[in-house]
Symmetry: C2
Subunit: 188 residues, 2 copies
Amino acid sequence: MTRWEPDARRRLQEAALDLFTTHGYAETTATAIAARAGLTERTFFRHFPDKRDVLFGADTRLRDTLTEAVTAAPAGSPPHAALAAGLTALAELLQPLRDTQLRRAAIIATHPDLRERELAKLTTWAAALTAALTARGLPVAQAETAAEVAATVFRVAFTRWTDPGESRTLPTLIHHTLTEAAAATMPA
Amino acid sequence: MTRWEPDARRRLQEAALDLFTTHGYAETTATAIAARAGLTERTFFRHFPDKRDVLFGADTRLRDTLTEAVTAAPAGSPPHAALAAGLTALAELLQPLRDTQLRRAAIIATHPDLRERELAKLTTWAAALTAALTARGLPVAQAETAAEVAATVFRVAFTRWTDPGESRTLPTLIHHTLTEAAAATMPA
């Protein structure tokens, strides 16, 4: 009995966030997530390889937003302007999702596997950014360093944004963090 | 039969590098490391809590070299100059140890536990750097970003330095990487 469930993916993601928050990540099974979403286990596994991946399902879209904005920056733009455009596009995509992102960050903080996966995500983003920057003509060593620094700036700004007491938007925090990073490395 | 072994620590570190390289990290026991160093298991555990820590025994000294150079930078120096001084002092300490560091890096790359511990080390360094920078009067948000960027610059430069085909020194690579990081974040 395979039915087409148009918003199955979103429903599974919401059900997973609810259950991970209420019962804990380790205690929640894929079966329980499917049940809460009113879907079958089979539908779950058609969308996600395992329960961990439910939390990382938006990764590809986020990474593409980042790299496409870097690629789309005007041809003559210096690397820092292209990177700022990429990070800002990513921040603008994430900003309306703050509530979900706060819950997601709280879950990720509870489990070493998830923290490791989150760091691996940044490594993947840095590799994609390196490719986007070399495609703009930047030498590979410069592109690599720029991408690693951009990933660090994103991580610092994102961590601040997911502090429940923080009221600034993610685009604003990205801007501040980039300025702070520039002050930390400015050539003498 | 507890004897004072003046260079036990160094002998255990060398024996561990030899055995980890030859037989693999997972297959090497603390007992085997002690035996190869001509010491007892008891002596091993007086110096290190477990075999993993043999690879990270120099951490405190490296971190202190970094933060002490940041603290010692002239009072009026901007943060980027203090950070560059810290990273350069660390790089100069490591440069003569290149052969050992290459072997160590090759071992760390083989095992997820070791890679995780290596990343945790950088987190500790960033926290110590943040403290050293706030003690110089830098606001905490700026200090945090600066410390995270410095840790990233170190990681990138160190990875290049431990590539067997790389001939530049670590201080030179740190200098290049800081320049690249500045170009990636320079305010528009």
